[in-house]
Subunit: 250 residues, 2 copies
Amino acid sequence: MSEPTTVTAAVLVIGDEILSGRTKDKNIGYIAEYLSRIGVDLREARVVPDVETEIVAALNALRARYDYVITTGGIGPTHDDITADAVGRAFGAPVGEDPRAMAIMLERYAPGDLTPARRRMARMPEGSELIDNPISRAPGFKIGNVFVLAGVPSVMQAMLDSAVKAMRTGVVMQVESIEAGAVPEGRYGDALGEIAKANPAVSIGSYPSFKDGRFMNQIVVRGKDAAAVATARADVEAMLVTLGANGKPL
Amino acid sequence: MSEPTTVTAAVLVIGDEILSGRTKDKNIGYIAEYLSRIGVDLREARVVPDVETEIVAALNALRARYDYVITTGGIGPTHDDITADAVGRAFGAPVGEDPRAMAIMLERYAPGDLTPARRRMARMPEGSELIDNPISRAPGFKIGNVFVLAGVPSVMQAMLDSAVKAMRTGVVMQVESIEAGAVPEGRYGDALGEIAKANPAVSIGSYPSFKDGRFMNQIVVRGKDAAAVATARADVEAMLVTLGANGKPL
């Protein structure tokens, strides 16, 4: 799906609670940072509701396009947890209780406590591999290039540690951040654009934040070639010096 | 695009910095909560990189499908701010300096300080309406059913206050949250599923959070008919009482 040194991924967040604003998603940012660190490039993220047709459509679009898709949410014991069924539908795979998952559930629950609701957590599409859940046991699963993880951040994070072991990784992006401080973007924007043009092997971003009534800016250089990143960083630093001050308003 | 009492929206977050994990998105959650409050249903969110073809494809998919699309990010003065051009491309509209936006920029900057970079912030597709920016002046814009806002949260939030004035709104979703406390989801999942089936006019979600080594759960009933929501809430509360304890582990 991409050149050998580049491995791509997308995140699919599943859950009405994110779209209603009840729950603020923390998983996209966590996964983004994690994948960057190991050499997998996150290229897209989507949030969809607990509606099977929506999950299936988004999953099929993403899994065809990226090396990996990580889903979060919808694998618990309640009626609104429909991710396993949706993933099965997307792959055209029958969904049923996985004996390995059932064995794990039976280690955790006495047979009398293994309610039908809890048994739902052992359901997954045929052909899935289990993803370990050291927090609350009920496993996630992997089918094809799709990793199906929990939505609760601490559980998702523990599952992600297992999931990435099955991922091919590419060259890790080198990242250099240069503080522009209170130098306004509008003062360095033109010069930075020239630097970006002169350094096509890297991507350069300028990121303002607004605090206590003023903007503070950071310039970030990213690329897979360390020498190219270093050159661009030096260019940016020299530009800021030329502008009159590094970190001081002009 | 939807029944008259329902107004739908999508959010399109634009920016490499979200996908690299450098910046943690706060806009989706804020917009989700805001729109819920005024009677606009957020149905989908996407995060795409600073790549014109990606922005165009996502925007055209979303604007065809939902009543409104809100974009965040990519409207600053630097070379990586390409949202205006991408939106113009999506609409097939030429992009140029808007005279009203230029007038605003000239109120803020002396002509000598109005660098080419800053002039970029006055560029927008022909036919756009300006969206007021009381924080840092450079306006957002609206074209068709698409609202183009800044990425910096405080600026985005101020622009959103203006943007929503141009939105039709639907019936506000009624939301009731019931604390299930430490009652495990696996204990109430089956009964809750029956309640969901018996109350088709509402949607019922069960949301665990994990803290200090244990799960705490909340059940949320949502719907546009207050009586239906009240009935479902009463059913959920009665169910929790029947299970033996409201908020105490079973």
